[in-house]
Symmetry: C2
Subunit: 389 residues, 2 copies
């Protein structure tokens, strides 16, 4: 493990020689444009519906690699064709982004989900940088404006919570905005951006992160910021919290705020400790703050993204603070990930394991798993490992 160079090579080669070729070859719909994401163990398409989260994320991924790693034409072509499909079919004409489409691009599920908007913004932000195409930048900016207008009620008319009884606010949107802010910073007015970033950092670190819980993060709090003793109020997603902490570290680096990096690193460590399954290894998907039964039946499963985001947070925490505990956690999760999620036989990684770490679903992509967490994680870890000595 001390041989960071060798390890960097492992992540780099997995990304460039295995995972990216898989998505380039298997996911592109050469007939209708966009991407298939429902891919079985071998990469065969088992369903042709197209989900805006995953369309946007794949556009983003190929654009990002084109912008940051190498100017490969096949990456740019893949990004542009997906971007064009999204531009044409992904929204209602006013940048309200559907949740899913048929293969041909007809809307299937209406724009109820704010994260369809955030991933569209990321996609077109990064694609505009890759192409210099001002139209893409405009789509990103317009969509970002709509997101900001929806911050107080992201679910809009689909919100089932009865007004006035128990209004909760949710962690996911401010968390994602911490990442999105840096992604589209070049496109926006600096003063406005600075203000938005301050608000998001405050929400994540001072509202959802709880000093009374030793710095753990809850998914929902009351409007006034207090903890609520109900299922949603006790709901915890360790993977979410840990992922958010590398977004915060990136912001700490960008804003030159080492104390923010330190706090984020400590919360990532605390959450990994809290979420680790002492019996079978791996990090639980959902937990209840008081240890009560969770609402979610899949609470004890081990999900790819949770573990890959933990790798990023730990290696970034080590890079930025030198805390040896981060390195120990990176090693532990690295061992778990490569022996459990990596498919020894076919490219790309498994996404869903049961508590014991056995494969629960053999798919390589589906409704929620696409060309995103695995390649983004491999890219991030590879880049960071290359800086370590």
């Amino acid at each position: 493990m001390e041989d960071f160079k060798k390890l960097a090579e492992q992540y780099k080669s997995e990304l460039l020689d295995s995972v990216l070729p898989f998505w380039l070859e298997k996911s592109q719909d050469k007939e209708f444009g966009g991407y298939f994401t429902c891919l079985d163990r071998k990469g065969e398409v088992f369903d042709t519906d197209k989900f805006i989260w995953l369309q946007g994320r794949e556009v983003w991924m190929f654009s990002k690699l084109y912008n940051k790693v190498e100017r490969r034409k096949e990456w740019l072509d893949a990004a542009i064709q997906g971007g064009e499909f999204l531009k044409k079919y992904g929204h209602d004409g006013n940048y309200n982004w559907y949740f899913s489409l048929t293969r041909e691009g007809k809307p299937l599920v209406d724009p109820y989900n704010i994260f369809s908007y955030t991933f569209a913004t990321m996609a077109f932000g990064q694609l505009s940088i890759a192409t210099g195409n001002e139209e893409y930048a405009e789509i990103a900016k317009k969509t970002f404006d709509i997101i900001l207008s929806k911050v107080d009620n992201p679910k809009g008319k689909w919100n089932k919570a009865h007004a006035g009884t128990r209004s909760l606010k949710n962690f996911a949107l401010p968390m994602i905005l911490c990442n999105l802010a840096l992604e589209i910073e070049p496109l926006l007015d600096p003063e406005f951006m600075q203000k938005s970033i301050d608000v998001c950092i405050h929400e994540v670190m001072d509202v959802f992160r709880r000093p009374e819980l030793g710095g753990l993060i809850v998914e929902n709090v009351a409007e006034d910021g207090s903890l609520v003793d109900c299922m949603d109020g006790r709901h915890m997603i360790p993977g979410h919290a840990i992922e958010a902490m590398w977004f915060i570290m990136d912001l700490g680096k960008r804003l030159n705020r080492p104390e923010l990096i330190e706090e984020a690193k400590n919360t990532a460590l605390k959450t990994a400790e809290y979420g680790w399954d002492k019996e079978y290894g791996g990090i639980f998907y959902f937990m209840d703050l008081h240890g009560h039964p969770t609402q979610e039946l899949e609470w004890d499963q081990k999900l790819w993204w949770v573990h890959i985001e933990t790798l990023i947070s730990m290696i970034k925490g080590y890079q930025l603070t030198g805390d040896e505990r981060c390195l120990e956690w990176f090693k532990r999760v690295h061992d778990y990930v490569w022996t459990h999620f990596k498919d020894p036989k076919y490219p790309e990684w498994f996404g869903y394991l049961n508590r014991r770490g056995e494969v629960l679903l053999e798919l390589k992509g589906g409704k929620w798993k696409g060309c995103f967490h695995v390649p983004r994680g491999l890219y991030q870890v590879w880049q960071i490992l290359e800086t370590l000595k």
Copy 2:
């Protein structure tokens, strides 16, 4: 097993001496009325929110037992206090039934869910018979009328499906209506009732039950009744299908249609065979018609209601047709249920097991498990076993 009398005694005593006392003692909210349903392994309340499905089902259960088994005052009192809570707080004043309430009865989640209406109808129908109170009968009738007015779009404004692209209709509502029809038959106009029943039987047996699948049932079909090759269109819930078949057998008995009973019994057998986990035993929760990965991460779990409903369908199938395969299936599932779901230490049964049959959540009640499937199943099986020789 041939000793049906002894077995009947086992079901009866589990119901009367263990399960019902558990709910009477642990679930009633003596302060605000209604029922707690979030109860841990020992029956301690771990959350006080009240879910209309489960409030309605508990009112129904105690009313039903009062009407059918014995005129116990404690059952009637429990039913009435729950009914009064529901009457006062469960709806918006126009019999639009919320999904959940706070402990005190304030609305938490708006009336998006049609099954809140169906269980309210069952509750007040049975409670009106128990009490002779005409007001309860009126609530049942009015709510039933609203259900019928919503049949074409049960989700109303919360429907996220984009109109015109891929309209699917779902099995659950016609299935429940098959049961509800008999439940509230005494309250309604006979001619109207007969017509409604005919429509529901047609939907269940001729639309969702598929001859090309050997009589298996799918959860969603196109408006024109055809199969759709998408995740929802391939979605199967064996427990649903098997449960529906005893509703159909009851209708077959009521309508004196032995051929309907025969068909329902065959579909129950076919589905049990299809859904049985050959490796670990038990019946899967969700399956994909083509064997593709399911959307649901909990697909391989073993749920209490699936197995209890199978017991009912199999013993009823045996009672009504004499098919020995039903008795074999009853034995197999009986053995699984009593060794896996029954808690050897505390009353009431576990609800959620992992694929291996190990307890996944220790709760005895929660957001979806209340005083319903276990006692209804014990009651049904007990009653049927007593008729067998």
